[in-house]
């Protein structure tokens, strides 16, 4: 098991190198000089331009820039943004907020998705099943920004139940509404996955065997049906984390959450290479870790899955 984890972690190194290179290349290939843009509609004197390009190493060929960046990373220096703030500091302030938002969204969507999916699956074809199908269809078809604006208008402005945008320090209670909005992206998928999986498991021999042994339904449902139905849902969870990070860019903009999505968007617009690459690298890292955790969870859910070589 330890060997398996170590192997998986080692695999992360080439993945990280590859992604940073690709992202760095893409930011570099983005047309337009970010330094020129710093001056707005005004044209800077060429000498000042030159000086600033030199300072941010933008005057050097791409590959040199990349290795300077890489070398600095190994020395623990992620560079600074145009506003003079160390990128590591930006990471440290924005990632906890987005992680909190994403985790809240995961908890919300898992709780409601699995519960509703389970009930739908057990009462296939009933009223509850039909209505949950309709609701999940609507949510799947609505873009997240529509849900976000409607939720902000109704619950924030009209009813006043939540702050319209997230307040100072991004307190957890302010994040509830954005998290619910974010959860709607994947909630419907999880409901449907759970439902289909539960229906399939419910018809299997071991469930019938358990019933014929005289086990009560209240034991069969959580231990035998639910647990065996969760594998596809947990697999989806790993993919979902990426979806959430993307959704966070939109949601964070609308609710003014000082998180990764918002900051990353601004950094891309401003062409701040080091900031963008550092952010994406950390996101890839999180993605890899979540995938590893999910793979490890399989063994818990299904003892037949082993990680021996």
């Amino acid at each position: 098991m330890a060997g398996y984890i170590a192997r998986r972690l080692l695999q992360a190194i080439p993945v990280l190198l590859g992604t940073t290179f690709l992202i760095y290349f893409m930011v570099f290939a983005m047309p337009g000089d970010p330094i020129v843009a710093l001056f707005g509609d005004k044209t800077p004197p060429p000498q000042v331009l030159e000086q600033l390009r030199e300072r941010y190493n933008l005057d050097k060929p791409f590959i040199v820039q990349y290795f300077i960046f890489l070398g600095n990373i190994f020395r623990g220096d992620l560079g600074t943004s145009f506003s003079g703030q160390p990128v590591s500091e930006i990471l440290a302030t924005t990632f906890p907020v987005t992680l909190r938002l994403a985790l809240m969204a995961v908890v919300i969507e898992m709780f409601f998705g699995i519960t509703i999916g389970l009930i739908s699956g057990l009462r296939k074809g009933g009223i509850f099943d039909a209505s949950s199908l309709v609701v999940s269809l609507i949510l799947i078809s609505l873009p997240v920004f529509v849900v976000a604006f409607v939720a902000q208008y109704i619950f924030g402005i009209q009813l006043g139940w939540f702050r319209t945008t997230v307040g100072p320090g991004a307190p957890t209670q302010d994040l509830i509404l954005p998290a619910i909005v974010l959860a709607t992206i994947s909630f419907a998928q999880i409901t449907r996955l759970t439902r289909a999986s539960v229906i399939e498991t419910d018809g299997q021999d071991f469930v019938r065997t358990a019933a014929s042994k005289g086990l009560s339904r209240s034991r069969i449902v959580p231990v035998h049906i639910l647990r065996n139905s969760l594998i596809p849902v947990v697999t989806y969870l790993a993919v979902d984390f990426g979806v959430l990070m993307v959704g966070a860019t939109v949601t964070e903009g609308i609710f003014n959450v000082p998180g990764v999505g918002r900051t990353l968007y601004q950094a891309i617009i401003r062409g701040e290479g080091p900031t963008v690459v550092s952010f994406v690298t950390v996101m890839v890292l999180i993605y890899l870790v979540v995938n590893l955790l999910v793979d490890l969870l399989y063994a818990v859910l299904d003892p037949r899955i082993r990680y021996a070589k």
């Binding site: 044209t43 060429p46 003079g84 604006f149 609308i254 003014n256 000082p258 918002r262 818990v300």
Partner: protein
């Protein structure tokens, strides 16, 4: 085997738990709307693009913070007229040599005295090439300034603690008008020890100061409190200023509607047609010192010489500015009547030749035909713009009018990002017309003309050159009387109307609104609310 499995689950759960916990603890909520903070006015802003060093800040996000925490030699009132702030007097006899006396007894918030050296040292720092300051070009006209090497501003001389003199390279009558701009703010001596650290926690001498170390919460907000030692006309009428950085205007507007924001100085496009109904007399729409145009450089085929002037005039007359400002911008732009802005002293709607801005399809066709007689038109007329800036609607409308009224093929040429189109313009690789805009740095007619149309000027993106125009600007600058100077600048505009180096479109308008809990909200000439005047109930 069983034990191992539990172990794995425990690791997974623990890891998830740690993530949740670290996330939760870092976000301890700060003091909610308690009594002591009730007089703090909240307003919208943007994360400053650069560290908060006056000579390195050239955008509105950082600018409105600097204007609040610093006091310059002069400040501008709502109409843009300059009044002495730190200056006791600014005197000149030839518009080239200035003697500036400052008030005595003024202090920075760290206790240092504001002296003549605070200005001279700050300006020298801002002008030095190797300091790479974004606003260094503001010192261009002071003797000693150089773009090519590190050079001291030899035109600056400290007479005593409260007096210094400025010698310019040539007479410039609007020099005193510039002194309220952030690039000319003073700096305490402590700033020069470590300018990066200073930019994070700037120490000023203005009506407000930072609410302690780290009051600038990056990407989130900056908290300012009243500077008790400030002794000028801009004394704060509220307890402080909380400038919240918004990623989108929509979020800021939602906060105003939801009661989390007091003053908003930008209304999102989606709410432009409704915000006046919603906020009534708590809203404002007024002209801004922002001039919008598009430029058709003379180096493009068919746009040089006499033919080019005819074609530009035809294009200008073929555009129905009233219709576009009405339909596309719901009346939130004002059709242009000159090359400056209505909020600037000396603005006039009746400059001879300005009728080239009046919509007249027949005259336009006629002018175009005259140009065709010189050399027949071929190809497509295009206006380049950045697609990330909300310009598509008006560019398409203008192109359509040119198509209909001139019978030519016209279209917009979108560039994905602002950086991209600006780079093409700066490098002169652009082969089409392109949108241009100018936001004044200080309220003076010359600021709309000199930097953009003078031969070889920094922002002369169309490489326009006309010796008569240059001569009139120079004459205007040499006048010590502002009214006579403005007359010269208006005459200079007559030449612009003939040559149309840029085709004027409209002036931007500032649209703002405020909540019920604040009063005395007035927007300044530069579209930023005069925050120090705002009073807040409760």
């Amino acid at each position: 085997m069983k034990i191992k499995r539990i172990g794995v689950a425990a690791i997974a759960l623990a890891a998830a738990g740690v993530l949740v916990l670290t996330g939760c603890t870092s976000g301890t909520p700060e003091a909610t709307d308690g009594a002591s903070t009730s007089a703090i006015v909240t307003t919208n802003g943007n994360e400053p693009q650069n560290p908060l060093v006056p000579t390195n800040t050239n955008e509105v996000g950082g600018g409105k913070i600097l204007d609040s925490i610093f006091a310059g030699l002069v400040y501008y009132d709502a109409e843009g007229a300059p009044h002495n702030d730190v200056a006791e007097s600014i005197e000149t006899e030839d518009a080239q040599n200035y003697t500036i006396k400052i008030k005595s007894g003024l202090k920075f918030t760290n206790g240092e005295d504001v002296t003549a050296n605070s200005f001279v040292d700050a300006w020298n720092y801002g002008a030095l090439l190797s300091n790479e300051q974004l606003s260094s070009y503001f010192f261009e006209s002071i003797e000693g300034f150089s773009y090519d090497e590190d050079s001291e501003l030899t035109g600056l001389a400290v007479v005593d603690d409260s007096t210094f003199t400025v010698k310019l390279k040539q007479p410039e009558s609007d020099f005193p008008l510039r002194l309220g701009y952030s690039a000319f703010f003073p700096l305490p001596a402590s700033a020069f020890d470590d300018m990066d650290a200073f930019g994070e926690n700037p120490v000023g001498n203005g009506p407000y100061m930072l609410d302690g170390e780290g009051a600038w919460k990056h990407n989130e907000r900056i908290s300012l409190v009243v500077n008790p030692d400030y002794d000028g006309d801009r004394k704060a009428q509220n307890g402080g200023l909380d400038i919240v950085f918004y990623a989108t205007q929509e979020a800021a507007y939602a906060d105003l509607q939801g009661g989390n924001l007091d003053v908003l100085d930008a209304i999102p496009d989606g709410a432009l047609s409704t915000f006046q109904d919603e906020f009534g007399d708590r809203s404002v729409t007024q002209a801004a010192a922002i001039f919008q145009s598009f430029t058709v450089p003379a180096r493009l085929a068919h746009f040089g010489g006499e033919e080019g002037n005819l074609r530009r005039a035809a294009i200008s007359k073929a555009i129905d500015r009233d219709e576009i400002t009405d339909v596309i911008f719901s009346g939130t732009r004002t059709p242009a009547h000159d090359f400056t802005s209505p909020v600037i002293d000396g603005y006039s709607e009746d400059i001879p030749g300005s009728d080239v801005l009046d919509f007249d399809a027949d005259a336009a066709k006629d002018l175009w035909a005259q140009a065709d007689a010189i050399s027949p038109w071929s190809g497509t007329f295009q206006i380049a713009y950045n697609a990330d800036g909300g310009h598509q609607a008006w560019v398409d409308a203008v192109a359509n009018q040119l198509k209909n009224n001139l019978g030519i093929d016209a279209s917009g040429a979108p560039y994905p990002t602002f950086a991209e189109v600006r780079t093409a313009i700066t490098d002169r690789t652009i082969e089409t017309g392109f949108r241009t805009g100018w936001q004044a740095d200080y309220p003076a007619l010359f600021n709309f003309l000199g930097p953009i149309y003078a031969t070889g000027a920094g922002s002369n993106d169309g490489d326009y050159s006309n010796p008569d125009f240059d001569a009139l600007l120079k004459e205007g600058l040499a006048e010590t009387d502002l009214a006579t100077a403005n007359e010269k600048f208006q005459q200079a505009q007559e030449i612009l109307f003939k040559d149309l180096p840029a085709i004027p479109l409209w002036y931007s308008t500032v649209n703002g609104a405020w909540s019920q809990s604040v009063e005395n909200v007035q927007f300044g000439w530069n579209s930023v609310p005069l925050y120090y005047e705002v009073t807040k109930s409760e």
